[in-house]
């Protein structure tokens, strides 16, 4: 978790800090130290077996399915999120990866993703990150802010391109979102990224912006399609409390797009991307040629991950200190406080809550149903060895009704949403949670 940004985007309510100068060496040392401590706690093995994980916000581990000895045996992915991690120097990224590889087994092919902001993603920089070990890039509107690098605070170059560029489709929209890059910069960044990370560059797009129409969205989508690689994330704008954009919308200064328009935009995106060969594998994520995000998949599959850095979240069993239950952990939010804690205790874990078996199943359900694969019988069995998916959701009740109405499917492979049901998941979940609680 790199918590610093150059600027606040109007829609973002993440844990982020805009500071004039960052003592990067100190932050780096703390990230390395915390990663080591937490990896030790999680008891991810150091010897070879399979894939990987990491941190950066999170790092899922491949979990050995056999209950007698379920220690995670390798890190399957590492994700550098933010903040704006592309503002950190490649050296910091390299140091963290070295720490991970030193504390646990990090296979050579493990996915190492960096979230990058077009304003800090020129070719030389990106090459530096690749050198450091990054092998996947996620660029876009979603990636917050920009670099706190003390040097190089050059203003964004004036917009030159008239062609519709990626992520946020046009400069007016970028300004609305408080983004500091221009459409042309974004386009340049994606092209540079694809050159360095062919087949492993993902782009983010936002839709449902105040004032956005079906047509502008379709055009933006087409433009993005012309530019993108094999992974696209499409997020409907969520107005978060405490953001400038939400204040403007709720204050009546900006219009809210009507429900039906949002649904249409979502449907259009699905149709356009599927036609272009993408698999709609999660509510907001699309991939072709198998370029799914390993890291985020493990998150939705409720695998274990540790969170390193200010405000990072984790879910793992702290075997290293005798823990036997999955815990929800949150690191200290404020960077300076977090650093002091890491320096004195080796980690900045602020909160840890043991998740009950029911709570774990609730998370499995809420996250798993976001994917096209849903929740497999096997995965459910890992969390609920004695009560099967059929026993909970195959009996008469809300879930059965939802299946009959065509929102939900329970079959030989597991429980999942139909395409229509996926868009309405938030209406389905309360019913399903009710039914789960009654078991």
């Amino acid at each position: 978790q790199w918590p610093y940004c150059r600027k606040r985007c109007s829609y973002c309510n993440f844990n982020k800090y805009v500071v004039p100068a960052v003592d990067e060496a100190a932050v780096r040392a703390c990230l390395v130290r915390e990663a080591r401590t937490l990896l030790h706690l999680s008891q991810v093995q150091r010897w070879v077996l399979g894939e990987v994980s990491g941190w950066g916000g999170a790092g899922p581990f491949g979990t050995c399915p056999q209950p007698p000895h379920p220690l995670p045996y390798s890190v399957t992915s590492v994700f550098f999120g933010g903040g704006t991690p592309s503002l950190a120097s490649p050296r910091t990224i390299a140091a963290v990866l070295e720490a991970v590889a030193g504390a646990a087994h990090l296979p050579a092919g493990a996915e190492v993703t960096l979230e990058a902001n077009p304003g800090s993603a020129g070719t030389p920089r990106l090459a530096g990150f690749r050198e450091a070990g990054v092998n996947r890039l996620s660029i876009g509107v979603q990636v917050r802010g920009a670099l706190p690098r003390p040097v190089c605070r050059s203003p964004p170059c004036p917009p030159t391109a008239t062609a519709l560029p990626p992520q946020s489709l046009d400069d007016a929209e970028l300004r609305l979102l408080g983004r500091e890059h221009t459409a042309a910069e974004a386009r340049g960044a994606v092209e540079a990224a694809r050159g360095l990370f062919p087949g492993r560059t993902s782009i983010d797009l936002l839709f449902g912006l105040p004032g956005q129409s079906r047509d502008t969205w379709t055009q933006g989508l087409e433009a993005a399609l012309g530019l993108c690689d094999d992974h696209v994330s499409l997020y409907q704008l969520t107005l978060e409390r405490g953001t400038a954009l939400a204040a403007q919308v709720w204050g009546g200064a900006l219009p809210v797009p009507p429900q039906d328009l949002l649904a249409d935009m979502y449907q259009t995106a699905h149709a356009v991307l599927v036609a272009a060969g993408f698999r709609h594998y999660e509510v907001s994520n699309f991939a072709r040629k198998g370029a799914l995000s390993t890291h985020n998949l493990s998150y939705w599959r409720a695998e274990q991950y540790i969170g390193v850095g200010p405000g990072a979240h984790g879910r793992f069993v702290p075997w290293g200190e005798g823990g036997r239950s999955r815990e929800a952990r949150v690191q200290t939010l404020e960077p300076d406080a977090w650093m002091r804690e890491v320096q004195s205790r080796g980690h900045g874990t602020r909160k840890r809550v043991v998740l009950s078996p029911l709570e774990q199943l609730e998370e499995v359900l809420a996250l798993g149903l976001r994917m096209d694969e849903g929740i497999t019988h096997e995965r459910w069995g890992q969390f609920s060895p004695h009560v099967s998916l059929e026993a909970v959701f195959g009996v008469p009740g809300e879930a059965k009704d939802l299946q009959e109405q065509g929102w939900l499917v329970l079959d030989g492979s597991g429980l999942r949403c139909s395409w229509e049901g996926l868009a309405l998941l938030d209406s389905l979940l309360p019913d399903l949670l009710c039914q789960l609680q009654h078991r």
């Binding site: 979603q142 039906d260 979240h313 929800a328 949150v330 809420a366 868009a423 309360p430 949670l433 009710c434």
Partner: protein, 660 residues
């Protein structure tokens, strides 16, 4: 309503000064001295007072009556203060309003009594003040309280002048032949115009201008003079301690530890602990445990004597045993019972059901306990297919219903489903089968579910009220239009001064029950006032209207309405429901129907997308909490067919702020 033995004295003729005499005495718990020392109004341990020192001649029983907000409770506070009944502090605000809801809403709901000791020209008097509710819904309580009095203080706001309730209250007192002391309050206000108010009083009530007392209860101006008037103008009760005991129960409350506490007025004889008494109404026998006066908390005394007002505890377990209006007498010394009064007549009925049937027993006991203190609520067990087991409750009016509901929540922590309020309609049956079933041809319908079909009815009847409206004349046009829209018929129109008009209309009760008062207030900028009294039944073209959600009736919203109003009401309810029900997975048809005929329809479109876009990176703990709260909320949703409706949606629909 006149009670046996009451002095037939009207204010105008009353000139007799108090028949002085009676040995001087102070409240016995006070040290000798002319002025009562400061004390809080808590009862003082078990010291007992000797009430023999207050013979009939030195007793005055009176009420304060007024339009709402004209300063009745403030005047009561001042009277208690200047007589030393309560300590004088800034905190004395609505001392007699003991219920939380009374203080919150600034209205008196329940009559309270306080005995005041006051020395005037060397004579110690016992003044019994019976505070009365100020809202039209509770006018029944007013008339009940008046039965224990010989006079009233009629308070009129010097700024607002005579209002509808002033008129209604005046006539209650006038018809009971009570002495009336007109008091013009709030003379300290900038816009006060006491002369104008005095002229109104003279014109409308035929009371000479010089009889009026101008005061400011808030500042205490001239309050002492009011006390003097009470002593001079109100006659003492006419009764004799030597007669056999004859006590009127004029109110009752329930105490969880001591059982029923009955407020009584003695019209003859005396009563003390150990006496065996009989209820004329139930013929049940009790032994008296305690008697006392209210100051305003209970203060035990050795005895109570003829003419005095106080309380009695006698092992009565239920408030129904202390029937209001009942006469108590000594065992084996029966007396002619006092005429008593009609029991409170519910004007509005609504179904009440537990949100969750497992709460049935808790709600039952809460209802039982609350009705112990509010016997004007009628309770019938009821059940419905949709809502399960519950009750049909009768209230004096909509405010009463709200207050009752609020007390259930505040005092018993219960939340409930309330159905649409309905008034008691009647039907004259023509079907022999139905007549046999009911055992009579005329039935009262308090539940729309029991509305008999037109085919088996020769005539439907609806209750009516005679409404009084007092308004500045500039609003007359709008008010007449409003009344006509409410199917009202004008009966009278009178200028009470150059600017103010009093209108009388005969209204169908259901037209005023929900929102008439609000509509009247809003179109007259708050200046018009309204009161009403029962005016019997009239024939009406009634129908039952159902509200359907995807074809399933919503029982809470079934209503009986006049045929002429069906379309407008149906359309209105459908529109409001559309806003009150959240979108769901499927389209919802919201319809109003009369029998099989659909008269209005709205469509609530299905949700198409609501899944949260982003779910990674951040912690999902917060999101899980939200989802679980929604799952909890589901359990509280009312399911009609497969449509889920938030529990408060119907109430929100019924509570219309303004007419569209």
């Amino acid at each position: 309503m006149a009670l046996a033995g009451r002095t037939a004295a009207w204010w105008a003729r009353l000139r007799s000064p108090c028949p002085a005499a009676a040995p001087l005495c102070l409240p016995p718990w006070l040290p000798a001295g002319p002025v009562a020392c400061e004390r809080l109004y808590s009862s003082r341990g078990k010291e007992k007072l000797d009430m023999l020192t207050y013979p009939v001649e030195s007793i005055r029983n009176f009420s304060i009556i007024a339009h709402v907000d004209h300063g009745k409770s403030t005047l009561a506070d001042r009277l208690l203060e200047i007589t030393g009944t309560i300590a004088k502090t800034d905190r004395n605000k609505q001392v007699l309003d003991k219920l939380q809801v009374e203080r919150e809403r600034g209205i008196t709901v329940k009559a309270q009594s306080a005995s005041i000791f006051y020395n005037h020209e060397g004579v110690n008097y016992l003044l019994n003040l019976i505070d009365t509710p100020g809202h039209v819904d509770f006018s029944y309580e007013v008339s009940r309280s008046l039965s224990a009095c010989q006079g009233v203080i009629l308070v009129v706001d010097a700024n607002e002048g005579i209002q509808a309730q002033t008129v209604a209250n005046f006539y209650l007192a006038f018809e009971a032949q009570l002495a009336i002391i007109p008091v013009i309050n709030k003379i300290d206000l900038k816009n006060a115009d006491p002369e104008r108010v005095e002229k109104q009083i003279e014109k409308l009530f035929d009371i000479p201008i010089d009889e009026c007392v101008r005061i400011s209860a808030k500042q205490g101006t001239n309050v002492e003079k009011v006390l003097q008037k009470v002593i001079e103008k109100i006659p003492p009760p006419q009764c004799n301690t030597a007669d056999p005991l004859k006590a009127l129960v004029f109110d009752s409350t329930f105490d969880h530890y001591r059982g029923v506490i009955a407020n009584i007025a003695l019209f003859g004889g005396e009563i003390e602990k150990g006496h065996k008494i009989v209820s004329a109404h139930t013929k049940k026998r009790y032994e008296v445990n305690e008697v006392g006066i209210l100051t305003p908390n209970e203060q035990p005394t050795h005895k109570l004597y003829a003419g005095q007002v106080g309380y009695l505890i006698a092992g009565m377990k239920e408030v129904t045993e202390a029937q209001i209006g009942d006469t108590l007498f000594l065992y084996k010394q029966p007396v002619e019972p006092l005429p008593g009064f009609k029991s409170a007549k519910p004007m509005v009925f609504a179904g009440m059901y537990p949100v969750d049937q497992t709460e049935y027993n808790n709600l039952k006991s809460a209802l039982e306990r609350l009705t112990l203190n509010d016997s004007s609520v009628t309770v019938h067990r009821d059940s419905s297919l949709a809502l399960g087991a519950g009750w049909r409750l009768g209230f004096l009016g909509l405010l009463h219903m709200e207050v009752f509901n609020q007390r259930l929540e505040q005092e018993y922590n219960m939340s409930v489903i309330l159905t649409a309020p309905t008034v008691p309609y009647k039907a004259i049956l023509s079907s022999a089968k139905l007549i046999k079933e009911y055992g009579k041809a005329e039935i009262t319908i308090i539940n729309p579910a029991q509305f008999p079909d037109k085919l088996s009815v020769s005539e439907y009847l609806e209750p009516t009220v005679l409404g009084t409206i007092v308004t500045p004349h500039e609003y007359i046009g709008k008010i007449i239009a409003l009344c006509q829209d409410r199917r009202a018929v004008q009966k009278d129109m009178l200028y009470i001064d150059e600017h103010r008009v009093m209108l009388k209309y005969l209204f169908p009760l259901n037209e005023i029950v929900v929102d008439f008062y609000d509509a009247l207030k809003s179109l007259s900028s708050g200046y018009a006032s309204f009161d009403y009294e029962d005016a019997g039944y009239q024939a009406a073209d009634l129908i039952k209207m159902d509200i359907l959600l995807n074809g399933n009736p919503v029982e809470e919203l079934s209503t009986i309405i006049h045929n002429d109003k069906a379309y407008a009401t149906g359309k209105f309810l459908c529109e409001r429901l559309k806003d009150a029900i959240p979108r769901q997975l499927f389209e919802i048809a919201i319809q109003a129907a009369i029998g099989k005929k659909i008269i209005a329809r709205e469509t609530l479109k299905a949700y198409r997308k609501n899944v949260v876009a982003k779910c990674y990176g951040g912690d999902i703990t917060r999101r899980m909490k939200l989802l679980k709260r929604q799952a909890e909320g589901k359990k509280l949703m009312r399911k009609i067919g497969n449509v889920e409706v938030p529990r408060d949606a119907f109430i929100r629909v019924l509570k219309r702020q303004t007419d569209k």
